[in-house]
């Protein structure tokens, strides 16, 4: 990395004196050009690294708190008069009976016991809204799991509402005038009183990684979207990989070189550059319109994304196959292998690392796509986690888009947290591609 310096008194047989002032000046100019280029290159790398760190830092800083959730501990009296008696009921019948119980009543009782000064319908409603609307279901599950609690008073930890959660996390400014915020001074007073007793806790929110979508920020989870993405990519992989690889093998090893294959080749390269929304329209017309498949299903999404990734896979597979040295083919043919044996016994196994790398990169692109799915109904509010490729589902980028569009403040951190989950999968996939390349790639 140092400047070029001629040897002292260097003289070659051209008779040029490299140490003459004229030559020194030229050398100096060249060195300046060299240093300038190095500086520009270094600057470009630093700037892009800065942008990347800034972006990731911003997402991580906003999203980290999305993995935590505030809970409030309250003393619930599991009233034996209201709750069913578990002793003479089957397990399922007991669960069904518990599901019928108005859990909101138990929660309201527990809260008004803690704050006896609260009266009136409006204030009591406010008081119960300290807790999430999902607290009812939480309490129901607790009772079903622990029937022995019935008849006792027990301290349980229930999810706080998103507004309380944002105050506890410091994302909502509570110093502004009371009229200008969603929570009144009274509600903040309750929160403070609970906090002073150590009843407000902030825990790791496993629900975020295990449940489906919700309209309540404190109840949302990415699992529905992760499962949807997984099923969609499975369909994409199972369609695009065999078709892509066979197309590449045929074009590279067997196809005659004529005008037809030239046109096919040009079109494959063109397809790789077509905007993804166009594939969405194609999917809408063919899979939904013509073939009458179910809307919002990973099957249709996967097929549409397969169209999108096919060109990427074909192009990378072809270049991987072309990179296998002709000597391998010659040797195999010399030993009497048929053209198919040459291709499948020798060329494809050697090209596999390159094909896999291209496929994974294509899959990573498909994982990040949302535009084509808009047309086929996968941009939707879907609560149930999909279990098969025909269930309605959504995917991670779409989930991020839907949350980013929601008015509640608490969705900002959930959006960033979901982006972190998506980035995790993308980095894992790209890392896998690099690892495969390093492990199996051969140099000739």
């Amino acid at each position: 990395m140092t400047d070029y310096q001629p040897f002292e008194h260097e003289q070659d047989d051209t008779g040029v004196d490299w140490n003459s002032p004229e030559m020194q000046a030229r050398l100096h100019r060249r060195n300046i050009g060299d240093r300038f280029f190095r500086f520009v290159g270094f600057f470009a790398v630093t700037a892009s690294a800065f942008f990347l760190v800034f972006l990731l830092g911003n997402i991580a800083q906003k999203g980290a708190s999305g993995f935590l959730q505030t809970s409030i501990e309250i003393d619930v009296a599991f009233d034996a008069d209201i709750l069913p008696d578990p002793t003479n009921l089957e397990k399922d019948a007991f669960a069904a009976a518990v599901a019928q119980v108005n859990m909101q009543y138990l929660i309201r009782q527990a809260l008004t016991n803690r704050f006896p000064e609260v009266t009136g319908r409006r204030d009591t409603t406010r008081l119960t809204r300290l807790l999430s609307s999902g607290a009812r279901a939480q309490l129901r599950d607790i009772v079903i799991k622990n029937p022995e609690l019935i008849g006792t008073t027990h301290r349980v930890s229930l999810l706080a509402s998103d507004e309380i959660d944002q105050v506890v996390k410091g994302n909502t400014d509570v110093s502004v005038d009371e009229a200008n915020r969603k929570l009144t001074d009274m509600e903040l007073g309750w929160l403070q009183s609970l906090e002073s007793e150590g009843r407000v806790t902030k825990d790791l929110h496993t629900r975020f990684l295990t449940s489906g979508d919700s309209r309540e920020p404190e109840l949302v989870g990415v699992w529905g979207a992760v499962a949807g993405s997984g099923l969609t990519l499975l369909v994409t992989l199972l369609t695009a990989f065999p078709i892509g690889v066979f197309a590449a093998i045929y074009l590279e090893e067997f196809a005659p070189k004529n005008r037809f294959t030239d046109i096919v080749e040009i079109n494959i390269n063109n397809l790789a550059a077509v905007p993804s929304i166009v594939f969405g329209l194609l999917g809408l017309a063919v899979f939904l319109g013509l073939m009458g498949m179910a809307r919002s299903a990973p099957l249709v999404g996967g097929l549409t994304l397969a169209l999108l990734t096919l060109p990427t896979i074909i192009i990378s597979a072809r270049s991987a196959i072309a990179a296998v040295p002709p000597s391998i083919r010659d040797a195999a043919r010399g030993l009497g292998a048929s053209p198919m044996q040459v291709a499948f016994h020798h060329v494809v196994p050697l090209a596999m690392p390159g094909i896999m790398t291209g496929t994974i990169i294509g899959m990573a692109r498909a994982l990040g796509e949302s535009a084509p799915l808009l047309m086929i109904g996968m941009v939707a509010f879907i609560v149930d986690v999909p279990a098969s490729i025909n269930d309605p589902a959504t995917v991670l980028p779409v989930q991020i888009f839907i949350w980013a569009d929601s008015p509640e403040r608490a969705f900002i951190e959930k959006t960033s947290a979901a982006i972190m989950v998506l980035l995790f999968f993308l980095i894992t996939m790209n890392g896998l591609a690099i690892w495969l390349r390093q492990k199996f790639e051969r140099n000739w």
């Binding site: 309209r215 199972l238 919002s296 109904g377 509010f381």
Partner: protein, 357 residues
Amino acid sequence: MRRFNIAVCFASAIFFGANGGSVSAEDNIRVVGSSTVFPFATAAAEEFGNTSVFRTPIVEATGTGGGLKLFCAGIGKNFPDVVNASRRIKKVEMDACQNNGVTEVVEVKIGFDGIVLASAKGAPAMQLSLRNLYLALAARVPAPSTEGGVGNLIDNPYRRWNEIDPTLPDLEISVLGPPPTSGTRDAFNQIVIEGGCRSFAGMQALETADLYRFIALCRAVREDGVYVEAGENDNLIVQKLVGNDRALGIFGYSFLSQNADILQAYPISADGNLFLEPTFDAIADGSYPISRSLFLYAKKAHVGVVPGIQEYIREFISERAAGEFGYLLDRGLIPLSDRERTRSLYSVNSLEHLELN
């Protein structure tokens, strides 16, 4: 290599096996339509899924126009059962429905929405009449000291609010709002720009003389950079406002109510005398000028085929959802009066179908 072949065969078998199998029983209700109604429709859907024996409906935000197009495309499990709309269904859309066999459509009014103009806290306060908003944002406006009419229109020359009205602050006009594909923009153009336009006598005369010309002239928003199309995402507009204390934003009331700590809304007046802030009550009783009704439409032919449609709509307009302390009100829905809610309930229960004239 045999292993590779087997793997491929296996993979194809799984794929084509799955493909060949019948499409699984489709018993989710499918809802499409307005992105304004989306937060309410999803909240009602989730509550409905949690508290009833039916599955949680699937809600797509396609926009009102796109939703009605899907809804009217036909009868059957590949077509949505319910469509949300931030405006009433149009005659042409109804005709499209009829042509595709969707002959009986039930209309249910679900509430109101206010469109607010707001800026970050700390921006200069002002009161805006529809007339001044029209002068600030229309593409062509009546020349100063004329009453409009086709001959008197000039390209919008105003760059600062005090050029329009000396009582307004000396501040550059800069407005962030939704693009033309949005229902909010439709309503804004129709109520604000057209409403302000109508306050000029010359334009009013044009309305009676040549309605199409009037609409063309009175709904066009300027495209010289003063009105910035900031995308369908209202949250984005809110975030852009916070970074820029000189701009106004246009968005739905629910985004104001969620962000009341960082935003201030401008009082609006229809006639230039009575200025009203976009409060819950002012929108509910219709006195706030920029408000609109929200509807949903259901296919009568699907009721009884797809389970739970009537029950879902009943949940949507129930007391605990859209009543005085309902959970939809937390999300910014402006509820119907009791009388109107009773009317809507009647529509759902009787499945009385809509006739547009």
